[in-house]
């Protein structure tokens, strides 16, 4: 066995095996989950995901860059509008996190959700989700060209695959970006407590 891969293959294999034992209705934990992602910016500020060139189109049809909320704490995630369960849960979990915040953090924080499905999540479709879910002005839902969607998913540590029927298999994460766009904190299991996310958002808003 090649030395480098011995460990990673074994770890992955064990992760798969252990998840199998825990029951087939539970997915394998993402190898991404819990892995440390640096929370601080380097001197070159190169931890910012805003280095990714993206052309987003939001629910109002406006063209914006990924850094549309630069300077604010941002909850960013990925979803698709025709998603039956995980994505509505993602929106609810972000709403619950926002509800934990008081001014000034509550006023400063922003939410950016980017669709896996640019074909169906047109500005009109995104707009109707905003209305149906009662999302306020802090929220932006957007689509992006397919190639850029994969770049964003990779940089956020979100895995997805388009299925033959046009639906998507995907992991659901809420990622908190600091003012510069560096990943500060992430929630990879939306059934877990939102308190750490809320606490970090408060700290960033307070200038810590």
């Amino acid at each position: 066995m090649r030395p480098l891969f011995g460990t990673t293959v074994l770890v992955t294999a064990l992760a798969l095996l252990s998840s199998c034992r825990s029951g087939s209705d539970q997915g394998a934990p993402s190898p991404m989950a819990g892995s440390p992602i640096a929370a601080t910016s380097s001197p070159r500020d190169d931890r910012s995901i805003y280095a990714l060139p993206m052309m987003l189109t939001d629910q109002d049809g406006a063209k914006v860059g990924l850094d549309v909320f630069r300077g604010k704490p941002v909850f960013i995630g990925m979803f698709y509008g025709r998603c039956p369960s995980a994505c509505p849960l993602l929106v609810s979990t972000i709403k619950a996190t926002l509800a934990e915040l008081a001014p000034p953090a509550a006023a400063e924080v922003r939410v950016l959700l980017v669709s896996f499905d640019p074909e169906h999540d047109t500005p009109e479709a995104l707009h109707s989700i905003v209305q149906q879910r009662g999302l306020d002005a802090r929220w932006k839902l957007a689509n992006a060209p397919e190639d850029q969607v994969r770049d964003l998913a990779e940089i956020l540590g979100i895995r997805y695959r388009r299925l033959p029927d046009g639906s998507f298999s995907h992991t659901s994460s809420i990622v908190l970006l600091d003012r510069s766009g560096a990943i500060d904190t992430r929630l990879d299991d939306v059934s877990q407590s939102v308190q750490p996310l809320a606490a970090r958002a408060r700290a960033i808003a307070a200038g810590e």
Binding site: L4, T8, V11, R44, Y160, R161, S169
Partner: protein, 237 residues
């Protein structure tokens, strides 16, 4: 940073690319019941992995991908660390060796600059299906040589592609998407208990390895090659 914005030239150069497919990719672990047989359209694939010399030319034309300039979110600390300098290979690196220590973002940008893209996992596996399992396992069992062999050191497979096994591991576009805890179905329920060929250890190794990667990772034996769509007349699109 222009991720693949500049075009160096048309992808299809007759001698350097090979037509692969059409065919059917049968994943070892079908991710869902609808994905047991995945049709793969004919596509163009580089006959050989990208070399250090190729990648040096790219970096010189796209200095934002120099190891001293690339944003860390696109490539970890090991990126191109085997080169003498950010813009020079140095005496220890043969320009005909396959480039390694490149991240997925960098590999994707290289292919994009050529008007190409990375192959999908289904495409790569279809291309690799022309190589015998015994040959692959003998490579996996060998320790890494002190010097990577030059590209073209292994025989062409039945598609005419070389070095898919035996030189370096390779990035694919969707390297981390075949094992996902799905929206409504888990990897286990849908796949693991129903592996098609339970003794296909080489494929298990590749899928597990890819699944352990992150897009900013670089390693000493992970390289890449590029692919492109093809039209009915066999021309690159």
């Amino acid at each position: 940073m222009g991720l693949g914005s500049a075009v160096l030239g048309l992808f299809a150069v007759a001698a350097s690319t090979v037509r692969v497919g059409p065919g059917v990719y049968r994943p070892l672990y079908p991710p869902s019941s609808a994905e047991r047989d995945i049709p793969v359209k004919a596509f163009l694939l580089d006959r050989l992995p990208i070399t250090d010399g190729d990648f040096l030319a790219f970096v010189r034309g796209h200095p934002e991908w120099r190891r001293d300039r690339v944003p860390r979110v696109f490539a970890d600390e090991g990126y191109l660390s085997h080169w003498d300098a950010p813009d020079a290979l140095g005496p220890a690196v043969d320009e005909r060796q396959p480039v390694v220590r490149v991240s997925w973002f960098a590999a994707k940008a290289y292919c994009g600059a050529r008007g190409a893209r990375l192959a999908t996992e289904a495409e790569w596996e279809l291309a690799a299906s022309g190589t015998s399992r015994a040959q692959i396992l003998s490579w996996y069992a060998r320790p890494d040589p002190a010097q990577l062999p030059r590209v073209g050191s292994t025989p062409a497979n039945r598609w005419g592609v070389q070095d898919l096994h035996g030189v370096v591991w390779e990035w694919v576009l969707d390297f981390d998407s075949s094992m996902i805890a799905a929206d409504v179905r888990g990897f286990c329920g849908a796949g693991a208990l129903e592996a098609i060929e339970k003794d296909d250890y080489p494929t298990f190794m590749r899928v597990a390895f890819r699944s352990s990667l992150r897009a900013d990772y670089t390693t000493h034996n992970l390289g890449f090659r590029c692919a492109a769509d093809i039209d009915e007349r066999g021309n690159a699109r």
